[in-house]
């Protein structure tokens, strides 16, 4: 606007003629650059392949296809499975009728009625009449399935009630329900831990944790089972690396994933030391409580109550409701700030149908029973100690697990070196017990998929329903089997 000039084209063109040379040369280079751009082809950056065409052909010729169905021997254990039927021909009162009962304390395996030492029915809620009645009335009210995920008309009032009750029971701010126990921790871990983050895991972590770790694409560092020095060494190494590169350290998140009671080794994690390490090295703790929920602690709140650790020190507690609570599904509980994130990021929550309302109602009723009668947990603990003591001294078998653990492992004292042979021996013991009406099971793993495959074992499960005399009979039976088969 200075001096109200009008920009005349003639003046502009004149300025162009009088332009300095360097400017015009630069513009010329830029025009050439544009032309080069317009004619360049798109390409991906990592297209380089280190193999020549000839080498590729050679590799293709060498390849031999594997058979679609690999050859399997006739006596492969998976081909000879045990068939469980729940059919009990019972005489109820004065009416003799054949009643169909589902397996719980008594189980019919291969046609023989046995005492159940294999199902994770710790509190005996599987055949509780109250739970069954509640489930039936819920079935009449809601039908069977929800036919939708939580975000798409799959949220029923029983789900919200169960979440509230679980949060109140565990004394945390909020809880979230998953419809499949395996998917609970496998969805929770990748919701928080992404590429570039670091997770410190115990070697004995169960398969669902391993799948969650795999899905998270983070850096996984395993420490020896329950070895706090090993964990501290790893944490110290990470601290040194963080000090070398503080800007990177500010962006990555660190987690420790542990189980309260390990399924594979039946022992407890040292939770107070872990909380100390958490605050020393600024790591978050994810605690998986599938086996210890409803088992440990004075009121059944799990390993935090057992050790007297403040529940706010644990960032996320995850458990499945398929063991003590005798329902289906799983839950995570913790602070609202933490749990709310899973409502959009938990893959198993957003993209799976929600828990059938019948099972949610059953879980609520089971929680009611647990809250009303905390004496159950002491009974269970006494029985566990009893079983642990009774199984000591079995010739050829060692008892792996704590006296508190409701699911013990019996492993061979002297392994024969080959896993299949060990499994055959243990299977013979199980068969012997089945003949004598004690139902036991081998602990099963996906051999090729497990990171640290545990040694073959028989899993003995203790429930509150087992009487003293049944426990004695079972211990006796196992001792006889071991003497006979493992001599």
């Amino acid at each position: 606007m200075a001096s109200g000039q009008q920009w005349v084209l003639v003046e502009m063109v004149q300025a162009f003629y009088e332009a300095p040379a360097y400017h015009l040369i630069l513009e010329g280079i830029l025009i050439l650059w544009i032309i080069r751009l317009l004619f360049s082809k798109t390409y991906k950056l990592q297209e380089r392949s280190d193999l020549t065409e000839k080498e590729k052909e050679e590799l293709i010729e060498e390849w031999q296809p594997e058979p679609l169905v690999p050859l399997v021997s006739k006596d492969h254990p998976s081909l000879n499975y045990d068939v469980v039927t729940g059919f009990v021909s019972a005489v109820s009162g004065h009416i003799s009728e054949e009643m169909n009962l589902p397996p719980s304390h008594k189980i019919i395996v291969n046609g023989k009625e046995c005492v159940n030492f294999a199902s994770f029915n710790f509190l005996g809620l599987l055949e509780s009449e109250r739970v069954k009645l509640k489930a039936l009335s819920s079935l009449k009210k809601y039908g069977v399935g929800t036919c939708g995920p939580r975000g798409f008309y799959g949220t029923f009032d029983v789900h919200l009630e169960l979440e509230e009750r679980l949060a109140k029971f565990m004394r945390t701010e909020e809880a979230i329900i998953y419809s499949y126990g395996f998917a609970t921790i496998a969805s929770a871990i990748p919701a928080y831990s992404k590429r570039g983050d670091i997770i410190f895991v115990d070697e004995a972590a169960c398969f669902s944790i391993q799948k969650g770790l795999q899905a998270s694409r983070s850096f996984i560092k395993y420490f020896k089972h329950n070895d706090m020095e090993d964990l501290e060494r790893l944490l110290k190494e990470q601290e040194i690396e963080d000090q070398k590169n503080p800007r990177k350290a500010k962006v990555i998140r660190r987690f420790i994933v542990i189980e309260g009671l390990y399924i594979n080794t039946a022992d407890l994690c040292p939770l107070p030391e872990l909380v100390k390490l958490k605050y020393k090295y600024k790591v978050r703790i994810f605690l998986e409580e599938s086996m210890s929920f409803g088992v440990l602690g004075e009121h059944g709140r799990g390993v935090t109550e057992h050790f007297g650790v403040n529940i706010d020190d644990i960032d996320l507690i995850s458990a499945n409701m398929e063991n003590a609570l005798a329902s289906i599904g799983g839950f995570c509980c913790g602070r609202s700030f933490v749990i709310d994130h899973q409502r959009l990021s938990g893959q198993g929550y957003c993209f799976s149908a929600s828990l059938p309302p019948m099972l949610a109602a059953a879980a609520i009723e089971a929680l009611n029973i647990m809250e009303e009668d905390p004496g159950l947990f002491r009974v269970l603990r006494d029985k566990c100690k009893h079983v642990h003591k009774a199984l000591q001294g079995t010739p050829g078998l060692k008892v792996v697990g704590e006296p508190l653990a409701p699911a013990l492992h019996l492993q061979l004292e002297n392994s024969s070196g080959s896993r299949t042979d060990d499994l055959k021996l243990l299977r013979a013991i199980v068969d012997y017990s089945l003949d004598r009406q004690i139902a036991l099971t081998l602990a099963r793993y996906l051999d090729k998929e497990e990171r640290f495959l545990p040694p073959p074992s028989i899993r003995v499960v203790v429930t509150v329903e087992q009487t003293q005399e049944e426990i004695e009979r079972a211990a006796q039976c196992i001792r006889q089997a071991a003497e006979k088969i493992l001599k």
């Binding site: 009008q6 502009m12 630069l26 830029l30 544009i34 751009l37 798109t42 990177k248 500010k250």
Partner: protein
């Protein structure tokens, strides 16, 4: 004689200063056309519907209508700057060039990651928007467009500043700051570790 001169000038002049009334009508026209084009975006990018695109940042610059919106946005910026009374035309052009390049640098080459969570566990967390475009494929059409547009702006700015030295220095520095990060050799490169994490 004077009148003849004025007529002569008129026939060759290109009026870059508008009368007030004409200017306000033009502003209204530009605003509504921008709004119209933005709202009628039937984009290849499905807005508000379920889509399987893992990282929408990769596809947003290919959406239908976005190039036009971008061009009109630059035009709006220029008109706004032109309407400030105490800037001369060369200053306005240099300012347009510099502000456009600064904005482009900040949004395409400085800010990293995505403003939303992606289902790929944070693959693009450390990548700038330019590096995320088309999942890292170089020389796609939108990449070419966004490389050429600051160059065109630079040509216009140097023409309208009459190739003045001071303006040349500022405009060239600004252009280089926006052209060099777009080279395929600098994909994922962080000089001196600046902006790496």
């Amino acid at each position: 004689m004077q009148l003849l001169n004025r007529k002569y000038l008129f026939s060759f002049s290109c009026k870059m200063r508008f009368s007030k009334l004409f200017y306000s009508q033009l502003l209204k026209l530009m605003f509504y056309s921008v709004l119209f084009f933005v709202c009628r975006q039937k984009s290849k990018m499905n807005v508000g519907v379920a889509h399987s695109e893992v990282n929408p940042n990769t596809r947003v610059m290919n959406s239908r209508g976005i190039w036009l919106t971008y061009a009109l946005g630059v035009g709006m910026l220029h008109i706004v700057l032109l309407s400030i009374p105490f800037f001369t035309v060369p200053v306005v052009w240099t300012l347009t060039n510099v502000i456009h390049n600064f904005g482009m640098y900040v949004f395409m080459h400085a800010v990293k990651g995505t403003p939303f969570e992606t289902p790929d566990q944070g693959k693009a967390r450390l990548l700038t928007h330019w590096e995320q475009l088309d999942y890292g494929v170089q020389f796609t059409s939108s990449r070419k467009f966004f490389t050429i547009s600051p160059i065109i702006l630079y040509f216009l700015a140097s023409f309208y500043t009459k190739y003045d030295t001071a303006h040349f220095v500022i405009n060239t520095a600004s252009l280089l700051s926006v052209l060099i990060p777009k080279l395929p050799q600098l994909h994922g490169v962080r000089i001196f570790g600046i902006n790496k994490y």
